[in-house]
């Protein structure tokens, strides 16, 4: 699978938040997107996934060569895209299992029986060190920040997208949870061959992952690209001086 972002500009409420961004991601690749607060990382993620408020005003988003600018979010998901939300919504009354089952039925990506599906959820939950009763509860309702992030990763593992955009999967997590989440992302990539765009502010999660490329965004544009050394530079000097 290949995701191509070509000179994309995104507006929200008439304000330009992404200003001519290019980024290509293929299966198996891990791209890290960094940048100061408000530089447009999450807006880019939501725009790629098709949030109705985040309008792609120019440029193209292509999946396997097909333009998806005008597709609704569910069609983009069916093409293999997945967005892990930085702040997942809480929906009281919508059970996680019901939700995941509805999602996998819509995607038609596996032919697992309900029992096999349940077993997979149980196994993945255990791998994420989620409390056993958590998936029996309403989606994110009353969850801690860490639990919400882990449930997002659980959804990714069950739905098996071709390319996952992970919007700060490490923010708000303690050191052990960062390690667990990172290991699960790594395992997911190995098992499925999926590509990942990882948005983060911190280098800690990258101690457990091997990015193919680091991209730094500022004022709605990718202004610098490189390898691990870029992370070290930002860590040492910050965005103001380092970039």
């Amino acid at each position: 699978m290949k995701l191509e972002i070509k000179n994309v500009c995104i507006e929200i409420g008439g304000n330009k938040v992404v200003d001519g961004t290019d980024l290509n991601v293929s299966s198996g690749e891990l791209h890290v997107l960094m940048g100061p607060n408000g530089c447009g990382k999450s807006s880019l993620a939501k725009g790629i996934m098709g949030h109705p408020d985040y309008k792609i005003k120019s440029g193209k988003v292509l999946v396997n060569g097909k333009e998806i600018n005008d597709l609704p979010a569910n069609e983009r998901a069916k093409l293999g895209l997945f967005l892990q939300f930085q702040e997942p919504v809480e929906i009281e009354g919508l059970g996680i299992l019901n939700f995941l089952n509805a999602a996998r039925n819509s995607m038609k990506r596996d032919t697992k029986s309900v029992r096999e599906f349940m077993n997979e959820v149980k196994e993945r939950s255990s791998g994420l060190k989620l409390k056993e009763d958590l998936v029996g509860r309403s989606l994110n309702a009353g969850f801690s920040g860490g639990e919400k992030k882990k449930v997002e990763i659980l959804q990714m593992q069950i739905l098996k997208p071709g390319i996952a955009i992970l919007d700060e999967p490490d923010s708000g997590l303690d050191v052990d949870a960062v390690k667990i989440v990172a290991e699960n992302i790594s395992r997911f990539m190995k098992e499925t061959g999926a590509g990942v765009i990882l948005i983060t502010h911190y280098s800690r999660i990258l101690e457990y992952l091997k990015p193919d490329q680091i991209h730094v965004m500022k004022n709605g544009r990718i202004i610098m690209e490189g390898g691990d050394e870029l992370v070290k530079k930002i860590e040492k000097e910050g965005y103001e001086n380092g970039v």
Binding site: M49, G50, H51, P52, D53, P72, A73, N74, R76, A77, K78, F82, L83, F85, P88, V89, I91, E92, G93, L94, G95, L97, N98, F99, L100, N101, A102, A103, S106, M107, V114, M118, K122, G136, S138, L139, Q155, L159
Partner: protein
């Protein structure tokens, strides 16, 4: 009564024109049997405007002029101060009396179906330590232009547990107006669930009294409106004694140009030390023309150890929540269904009668998707599927 004491409620009130003559239609018992078959269920009591079919244990049916007053031990007031109850009292043909003896248990299903105006009364007494699960299903024999007007009076004696679920699925053109009064005594519990979906106009007045120490009332109301339906739901709760608990949760999902007034009023009386009182009203608007007036109110006459809160929130369907659901590959129609279903589930979760719960779930989801109501819904486990390991 809230209408007398609360000017806001008086101003926001549907004015009903009461039927001048109580016409009765042809027998609908055949149609009732068909509905039972469609639902694959038997009801203990089928009440119509012309007759009542009763096979329920602990259930007795009387004509209105032969009510044995002693059955209810003089404790009930029969709500005669209220106009709806006064109308029902004056015009009822049938009075159904349910008496659960001390320490006995019962499940009672009642179908109310009519082809003419139908004011009637149901008086329930749950004896000490008894358990009652009661379900009432209101439906129409055909396209319905009549009113159904139930008057309920409940007396839940010490340490008894009563669950009552009322589901209205009557066709458009019909009207439901009702009055319910419940008194709950020492250590007893009443769970009351109201599902309002059918009828063009619904006006209900409910009064719940936590009358003795340790009594509990847990009331849930869900309104699902479409087209130009109108709902006026007025529920009045009182914590009369120490350590009582009274909670009212009201929800509305409105589409088309439907409108709903949720008027939940809670009163904590003098010396109700340690009382807990809650009124919560929430609504979702599925269209710009739909309208909800959520008007919770409280009167607290005592403060020592009392916890009392009320809240109201109404909003259009949450765009971010829909995007979240759709981002998992679920189309917009199914996403909306899941979101609305999740909202409703809070109000249906208190119903433990499986038929009442599944029927309500199917009926409400179908209505929120298509706007149609009044048909016998297909019951499907998929709507309430909840896996458990």
């Amino acid at each position: 009564m809230p209408d007398e004491i609360n000017e806001l409620y008086s101003r926001n009130s549907l004015k009903l024109e009461y039927p001048k003559s109580i016409v009765s239609g042809p027998s609908v018992m055949e149609r009732a049997s068909e509905i039972e078959k469609q639902l694959d269920s038997k009801f203990d009591v089928i009440v119509s405007d012309t007759e009542v079919k009763n096979s329920g244990k602990f259930v007795k049916v009387f004509s209105a002029d032969e009510i044995p007053g002693s059955m209810i031990e003089g404790k009930m007031t029969n709500g005669s101060e209220d106009r709806i109850s006064a109308y029902i009292n004056a015009n009822s043909k049938h009075v159904i009396i349910i008496e659960i003896p001390d320490n006995e248990s019962a499940k009672i299903g009642i179908m109310a179906i009519n082809s003419g105006h139908m004011p009637f009364q149901i008086l329930v007494r749950c004896g000490s330590g008894s358990r009652l699960n009661m379900f009432e299903y209101y439906c129409s024999a055909d396209q319905d232009i009549y009113s159904v007007a139930p008057l309920h009076e409940f007396m839940v004696e010490s340490n008894a547990h009563a669950e009552f679920s009322l589901v209205n699925n009557k066709t458009s053109g019909s009207c439901m107006m009702g009055f319910a009064k419940a008194e709950v005594y020492k250590g007893a519990e009443l769970k009351a669930n109201f599902v309002y979906s059918g009828s063009s106009v619904t006006k209900m007045k409910n009064e719940f009294y936590a009358n003795e120490e340790g009594s509990r009332i847990d009331a849930k109301e869900i309104v699902v409106g479409a087209s130009d339906q109108k709902f006026d739901i007025n529920t009045f709760m009182t914590n009369a004694k120490p350590n009582t608990y009274a909670k009212l949760e009201s929800g509305a999902v409105l589409d088309g140009s439907s409108m709903c007034m949720l008027k939940g009023y809670a009163k904590v009386e003098k010396l109700a030390k340690g009382a807990i009182s809650r009124v919560e009203e929430h609504g979702i608007l599925l269209s710009e023309a739909a309208h909800i007036d959520a008007l919770p109110d409280m009167a607290i006459d005592y403060g020592d150890g009392v916890s009392a809160t009320h809240s109201a929130a109404t909003a259009p369907i949450d765009k971010d929540a829909l995007f979240y659901i759709m981002s998992r590959g679920i189309d917009s129609v199914e996403s909306r269904r899941l979101f609305v279903g999740a909202f409703m589930s809070k109000y249906l979760s208190g119903i433990t009668n499986p038929l009442a719960r599944e029927l309500s779930t199917s009926m409400l989801l179908e209505k929120s998707e298509s706007g149609s109501f009044g048909k016998v819904p297909g019951i499907s486990m998929k709507n309430v599927w909840n896996a458990n390991w």
